[in-house]
Amino acid sequence: MAAVQQAARPGRLPELALTIVSVMIGLGAYALVHLGANGAMPENMASAAVIFAGAALGAHLLIRWAAPYADPVLFPAALALNGIGLGMIERIDIALGSTQGSSQAIFTLIGIALAVLTVMTIRDHRILRRYTYTSLVVGSVFLILPLIPGLGREIYGARIWIDVAGFSFQPAEAAKIFFAIFFAGYLVVNRDNLALAGPKVLGLRLPQLRHFAPLLLAWLVCIAVLIFQKDLGTSLLFFGLFVSMLYVATDRLSWIIIGGLLALGGGFVVFQLFPHVTARFNVWLNAMEPQVYDAPFGSYQVVQGNFGMASGGLFGTGLGQGYPSIVPQANSDFIIASIGEELGMAGVFAILALYLVLVIRGLRSAAYVRDGFGKLLAAGLSFMIALQVFVVVGGVTRLIPLTGLTLPLVALGGSSLVLNWIVIGLLLRISNAARRPNIPSADPIPSAWDDDGVAENPEAASEPTEADRADTEAMRMP
C-alpha cells in the first residue's frame, strides 16, 4: 500500500501562511466595518488583534503538534469564514446598537478551542465507531430536548431552542454530528446488505424491506421534526445527510431516487397540511407580489434581502456603508444578504469559494482515508456543510424556498458556531489520517472496535478494495 502513496507532505508551513492571511481578513473586516460605519478604528483594535491572532496561531501550533499531517487548508478556510462573519455581526451591531458581536467573539474562541480539543482528544477517528448506537441515542435526545416543556423555547414559530443556565442552545446543531457518526457506523456495517440484496425493478435494485426500514425511519424522524418543531431546514438537512451517506456507502442510485421520492412525497404532504410551509412556497414563487410582500410572514424579509444584494452589485457598497440592517435577521439567517450588500457579488463568491474549499477538501479526505467509517463520516460531514450552505444561500436568493437555517461558521449563533468548529476538528482529524504516511505499524486497529456487537467483514471496513485504491489514486491531484 505504501507503494501507491506519494511522499506525505505535512503542509504545516502553508497552513501557517494561510492562517496569517485569514487572521488579516478577519481583523481587516473588523477594522473596515468600524471605519466604514463610524469613520474611526474600533477602540479595542489592539487587544482584539492580539486575542484573535493569538488564538489562531495557538490553534495552528496545537494542530501542528497533534495532527501533523492534517489538511493545511481546512483550518484557515474556517477561520476566514468565521472572521468575516464576526465582522458582519459587528457591522449589524453598529447599525442596530446591539452587542451580539462580543458574545459571538467569545463563542469563536470556545469553538476554536473545542476544534483543537477534538483534534487532540480523538487521536484516531475510528474510536468514534464504538459509539454508533450511543450516538443514535444521544442525537435523538438532543433532537427531542426542545419539545420538553419548560426547557424548550419557541422563537419565530420554530421550537428548536432550549434554555440552559441562561444560555439558549440549538440542540439540533449537536444532533447532526451525532447522527453523522451513527449513520457512518451503521452504514459501514450494513453497506453490503443495502447494496446487493433485494429485487431489481426497472433496472433499479430495490433494497429489501428490513434494510429499507432505516431509511423510512429517517424519513419519519425528519417529518416528525418538521411537525413538532416546525423546522423545515433541519429536517431537510438530516434527510440529505442520510441519503447522501447511504449513497456513498452503497453506490446505488436507487437510494437517491427512493430518497428523493420520499422527500418529495413528505414535502407534498407537509405542504398540504401545514399553512406555514404553504406560505413559504407562496413567498418563494410570488415574492414580488404586493399582497405577498405585505402579508404577515410574507416575502418582506426575502425581498428586502434581495434589494440589499442588488444594491451591493458587483463590488458592494463597502463595509459599513450599506444598509444591511433593514433586512430582518441581517446577522443570522440573512447574513449572506448583508455580505452581498457590503462586499458585493465578489464577496459572496469569495464566501462560497471558501465553503467549496472546505467541502472539497473534506471530501478529498474522505476519498483518501483508508477506513470505510472515516470515509463515510468525512463525506457526510462535508456534504452536510455543502447542503446547509445551499439551503441557506439558495433560500435567500430564492433559488429554493426559504428555510430557517444559518450559514455555518458565519452567521450569529453560539451553539451553531461551536458545533461547526467541532465538525472542522473532526475533519482535521480524519484528514490527518488520510494524509499521513501509511506505515502499517502506525495504523493500529482500535482494540474494541466491534463493541457495537455487530459482526462484520473487517476487510471491507478497514482496508480499501482494489477499486477504491485505484479511485484514491485517480483522485489525487497533482
Binding site: 442588488a310 444594491s311 444598509y323 452581498g340 463525506a379 462535508s382 456534504f383 445551499f390 484514491t472
Partner: protein
C-alpha cells in the same frame, strides 16, 4: 466508496454553481430592476447618505442638507420654505419622492450627474465623502417676496420674466406650503402633513404658475388678437368697426362690450388704440372673424400656445381652442369661450412684446455648480420663436403704455416710469367670481421686467372684481420693487 464520493463532490460543485448563478441573477442581471423598485428604501437612503448640494437664490442657500443623527445622515432643510416651495419642490424620504428642482436637477444635487464624474473620481482618490453639486436659480428674492406680498394670501399666481433673456425672476403660486414638513425624517409626521396638504381644497401643492388648472385669460388675451391684427395690416390709429353689440355670422348670439358700454365715441367705429385702451370686445371679435381662425391660431402659437415647454418644470401648454363656429372664434378673440392659459404663458406674451417681438425661452436654472463651486453648466438664453415683427412690437408697446396711462390699467401707473400693460377679467359663469388679470412690462422704452398677474375668482373682492382694480395694483407694486433695485 470513492466513486460515489467523487460524484458527491460533483454534486456539491453543481450546487455551488447553482448558487453562484442565483447570486449573479440578483446582483448583476436583475440588480437595476431591484434597485429601482419603489419598495427599496436604499435608493433614497443613498441620496440622503450623500451630502446633497444646495439650491441657491442670489447667493443665498434656500435648500440645504444639514447633518442628521439618523440613517439618512442628512436632513433637507428649506430656509424660506414657503417663498420658494414651488420652485425648489421638496425632497421627501417618508414617501420616497421629490418634486420641483429637487427632482429635475436631482442628478446634480445628488451628485450622480455625468458632469460630476471627475469630482467623484477625485473624492474616491482623496477619500472625501461624495457630495452633490449646487443649483443656482434665476429667481430674484426681492421680486419674489414682493409678488407674494402683493397677492396677500389671495389664491393666484405672479410670474416675472426678464424679456431679453427669458430668466424667470419671480414665480409665485399662492397658497404655498412649507417643504420642511414633507422633508421631515419623522415618517408619520411627514405623511400626515402630506395628507393635509394634498386634501386641502386650496391645493397648495400645485404650482399655479405653470401646472395648475388652466385659466381663462379674459381681456388680457386681446393683446394676442391685437398683435395678429397689426401683423395682418391693421394700424393702431385706423378706424375699425366697434359697435355696441355684435352678432357673429351664423348666430343670433350677441356680443357686448364690458358693461354693455359703447366703444369709442359711440359712432360704431373706433381706433384699435381706443379699443384696447377701453378693452372693447366687439372690434376684436369682428377682426378675428375677418382674419379667420387659422391666423388667430398661428399668432397664439407664435407666442407659445400649444407647445410643450420645460423650465425645467413642465409648463402645461396653453390652448387656443378649435373654434368650429364664427361665434366661438369671435368669443375666443377676447379670451372667452375655450381659450385657456397658464400665468407663465401670459408672462411670455408680455415679454415677447417687450423684447421687440422675440420670445425668449423662460428658464429657472441659472447655472449648476460642482461641490467645489466650479461652474458645471450655465443656461444660455435661447429664442423660442419670433412672435411678431419689431414694428408690431413697437406699436403694441405704445398701445399698452396708453392702456396704463389712460385706460383700464391706470392703477399700474408708476410715477416717472412708463408701464405697458393690459387688464383682463375672465368671466367664468354667473355663479363664480371672475379671475382678475394684468399682464405688462416696464420700463416701456427699455423693458427690464415682464409680468403676468392672476388672482383667482376675484380674490377678496369677489364678484365686484376686475383686472384693473385687483390685478393692476399688484403688478405695480411688484414692478416698483423690481425697478427700485
Amino acid at each position: 466508496m470513492n466513486q460515489p464520493i467523487r460524484r458527491v463532490a460533483t454534486l456539491a460543485l453543481l450546487m455551488f454553481l447553482a448558487l453562484m448563478i442565483a447570486v449573479t441573477m440578483i446582483q448583476f442581471v436583475r440588480a437595476p430592476a431591484l434597485t429601482a423598485d419603489s419598495r427599496n428604501a436604499r435608493t433614497i437612503y443613498e441620496e440622503y447618505g450623500r451630502e446633497r448640494g444646495p439650491i441657491i437664490v442670489a447667493d443665498q442657500t434656500v435648500a440645504s442638507s444639514e447633518p442628521a443623527d439618523d440613517v439618512y445622515q442628512f436632513l433637507r432643510t428649506y430656509g424660506q420654505g414657503e417663498l420658494y416651495a414651488h420652485s425648489t419642490g421638496y425632497f421627501s424620504v417618508a414617501f420616497n419622492s421629490m418634486t420641483g428642482i429637487e427632482r429635475l436637477e436631482n442628478d446634480v444635487l445628488g451628485g450622480s450627474s455625468q458632469s460630476l464624474a471627475l469630482q467623484r473620481l477625485r473624492d474616491l482618490v482623496t477619500g472625501n465623502e461624495p457630495r452633490g453639486g449646487g443649483v443656482e436659480l434665476t429667481l430674484d428674492p426681492q421680486i419674489q417676496q414682493a409678488a407674494v406680498d402683493a397677492l396677500n394670501g389671495q389664491r393666484g399666481s405672479i410670474v416675472v420674466l426678464e424679456p431679453d433673456t427669458g430668466r424667470i425672476l419671480a414665480m409665485v403660486s399662492v397658497p404655498s406650503y412649507d417643504p420642511n414638513l414633507l422633508a421631515s425624517h419623522d415618517a408619520a409626521a411627514a405623511r400626515e402633513s402630506y395628507e393635509a396638504l394634498s386634501t386641502d381644497e386650496s391645493r397648495p401643492l400645485i404650482n399655479r404658475a405653470v401646472a395648475g388648472d388652466l385659466y381663462a385669460p379674459g381681456s388680457a388675451f386681446k393683446v394676442v388678437t391685437a398683435t395678429a391684427m397689426l401683423e395682418n395690416g391693421y394700424e393702431p390709429d385706423e378706424l375699425i368697426d366697434a359697435p355696441t353689440q355684435y352678432s357673429p355670422p351664423g348666430t343670433s348670439h350677441t356680443i357686448n362690450n364690458p358693461g354693455e358700454a359703447t366703444c369709442g365715441d359711440g359712432s360704431g367705429q373706433a381706433t384699435l388704440l381706443q379699443s384696447l385702451r377701453q378693452s372693447c370686445n366687439t372690434p376684436f371679435a369682428i377682426a378675428a372673424v375677418e382674419m379667420g381662425e387659422e391666423t388667430m391660431r398661428e399668432q397664439a402659437e407664435a407666442f407659445g400656445f400649444g407647445q410643450e415647454l420645460a423650465i425645467p418644470m413642465a409648463v402645461t401648454p396653453s390652448r387656443f381652442p378649435d373654434a368650429t363656429t364664427q361665434a366661438e372664434l369671435a368669443q375666443s378673440a377676447f379670451g372667452q369661450f375655450d381659450v385657456r392659459v397658464t400665468p407663465m404663458q401670459m408672462a411670455m406674451v408680455a415679454s415677447a412684446i417687450a423684447n421687440d417681438g422675440s420670445l425668449m425661452r423662460p428658464y429657472l436654472v441659472e447655472r449648476t455648480l460642482s461641490p467645489d463651486l466650479d461652474v458645471l453648466r450655465v443656461t444660455d438664453p435661447e429664442e423660442l420663436s419670433v412672435a411678431m415683427g419689431e414694428d408690431s412690437a413697437a406699436q403694441m408697446t405704445e398701445m399698452m403704455v396708453d392702456v396704463v396711462a389712460n385706460g383700464t390699467g391706470f392703477r399700474a401707473q408708476i410715477p416717472g416710469i412708463d408701464v405697458a400693460g393690459k387688464t383682463g377679467t375672465a368671466e367664468i359663469s354667473t355663479s363664480i367670481p371672475p379671475h382678475a388679470w394684468f399682464i405688462g412690462f416696464a420700463p416701456a422704452e427699455d423693458p427690464q421686467f415682464a409680468i403676468a398677474v392672476v388672482v383667482e375668482n376675484g380674490g377678496y373682492q369677489g364678484f365686484g372684481t376686475d383686472g384693473g382694480s385687483l390685478a393692476a395694483p399688484m403688478a405695480r407694486s411688484v414692478l416698483q420693487a423690481a425697478l427700485s433695485e
